[in-house]
Symmetry: C2
Subunit: 342 residues, 2 copies
């Protein structure tokens, strides 16, 4: 039954600007913000318009949190681990080495304490966070030489950021911070020995297989990096409740959409990369084990220095232990069987 | 910037009834419809109300498709594989043996041909489908005796439905159709030898561990069963575009929510079941292999008889092959490593 209401009510017109951390060339991640904005517009009959700007257009990619916090823009779309320099706690909203996978993160956020704890944390930065996308487990990057043992990590100059850089430092590697567009020439010249980016679909666009043929997996520092829309708290609070609800569910739709798009696009890209000369290699077990051990040391050190990090880490770690246990049973054996029959 | 519009527009009041196929006792699956209805109400400021009825309250659980098709109710929430008796093609919207996992299904629906093909199919039943929930890989059920080899499947009387029943028939087992509430006494008396239900969280409520202690995994016939909201086409077409968009994204939110809830609740339930005497067992490889082979035969037979099934199956199968290949790389090795360090 569709009926007109007795009293005509009206929804306000809203125009927001969203600063993305990402260039348009990362179409799947950048596209997450566009999907979000499109759904919001559709759900409000065009009354709530969010204009999406690529990284650098109105705000530099790594300054979108500050711009949102200060109200320069109403919101941004970003990977929260970009801000671990301000506080390592930001990593829990995105990814940290040997952290949660996309499904585990959804479960911890929605039916564990994850979202509650992180919204308390984001509130101290004057923003309200909405999960909006995930890439799934990323690849471990491109290497000019094979990594046969943990000794091959010593002295390795690798483009890798944040926590993961700190982890490989403990193994004697030398992490480097290099912007996306500068990675290819650095690898080509040998200024660096290795570089990680995202996964097959995004890596292919940068052509790394031409200058570093060994392609390692898994990206243990990104087991399910989540992207987020961060909204200025004052802008959020000024919205009618209906619009807040629409933003939440539009973000959920864009969340599913990004994961689906990566899953659909990665296999073809990987096949093409292999056809183009990429040599696919799993990280040796001793490298994985050493990195895992170094990561646990790092978390203990960070927890000792930062009480908020410790509180969130302890909660996540406990949740993760149960998830990994359960994941080995029905889900794990099904995936492994399906892999065995093809 | 929030401003009032120059011309006040109004959204209509809508009241719908949703018939769920599920009892309230299956709170996670039944709850998917409640989450959906709640999000729609929130996003419309209460103007669009969907009242949820449990299976049997106004429509018997397995007749909700007919009730929606005929307009007795505007929509339903169901597992589409309940309707494989009408046409086996319904299974692709939910699950079929050795089919897609939840993430693979999302990818096929959104960035493959899945949703397009299935919307064409559902339109012939006068309904519009919205994916709304997934349980993840289910468990393989409860057995009074151990299954040590494929020979132990011969003569096994098992409560199992649909395609999976046809698959185990090929191995000499005897599938039985028994309603949820009647499974426990049948297992207790030995009228049946085994029964499958859902997974730890739902199985625990029915107490199967007390009467059949061997708990097998994985549920190879349900690698990622999707639930769906099916909407009567006339009711759908009568909605303003904004409301259609809100239904789509509200369903997407409920979709993520259900998977997260199952993932969060299953581990605790599994631990309690094991503490209560359940003996956890993986299906032997020869049983899995024989079931896989039987399933492929069944799909060839069904494809020969039903051109629509063949069209959708061929598309799904091709998509699945790429997904399984990619899933072995970053995602698979990450999960397996994380399982190895605990």
């Amino acid at each position: 039954a569709v009926a007109m209401p007795a009293i005509a009510q009206s929804a306000p017109t809203v125009k927001w600007r969203l600063a993305s951390s990402f260039p348009k060339s990362l179409d799947t991640i950048y596209g997450g913000a566009e999907t979000f904005a499109k759904r919001v517009a559709e759900a409000t009959g065009g009354k709530f318009q969010i204009q999406v700007f690529a990284g650098g257009e109105i705000v530099p990619g790594l300054q979108v949190l500050d711009a949102t916090k200060d109200g320069t823009v109403e919101c941004c779309h970003t990977a929260s681990y970009y801000f671990v320099g301000k506080d390592p706690t930001f990593a829990f909203d995105c990814a940290l080495p040997f952290g949660l996978t996309n499904r585990q993160l959804d479960a911890w956020y929605r039916h564990g304490n994850g979202l509650k704890l992180m919204r308390e944390f984001f509130a101290t930065y004057n923003v309200h966070n909405l999960p909006c996308g995930n890439t799934g487990v990323q690849m471990g990057g491109w290497y000019r030489k094979e990594i046969k043992t943990v000794k091959d990590m010593e002295g390795l100059k690798m483009r890798i950021g944040g926590f993961a850089g700190q982890v490989i430092s403990k193994l004697g590697a030398v992490p480097q911070q290099i912007a996306g567009g500068d990675i290819y020439p650095a690898l080509e010249k040998g200024t660096i020995d290795a570089a990680e980016w995202v996964g097959p679909y995004d890596d292919q666009k940068l052509g790394f297989n031409k200058v570093a043929k060994f392609y390692y997996y898994p990206g243990w520092w990104e087991g399910g990096p989540q992207l987020s829309v961060l909204v200025n708290k004052k802008a959020w609070d000024a919205l009618p409740k209906e619009y807040q609800a629409i933003l939440e569910i539009a973000a959920a739709d864009a969340h599913v959409e990004m994961m689906a798009e990566y899953d659909a696009k990665n296999p073809t890209a990987l096949k093409q990369l292999i056809a183009g000369g990429a040599q696919l290699r799993p990280f040796p077990k001793d490298v994985m084990d050493a990195c895992y051990k170094a990561a646990q040391e790092l978390y203990a050190e960070t927890s000792a220095k930062n009480a908020t990090f410790k509180k969130v880490y302890d909660d996540m770690k406990k949740f993760q232990a149960d998830q990994v246990l359960w994941g080995r049973i029905a889900e794990g054996t099904y995936h492994n069987f399906m892999a065995s029959v093809r």
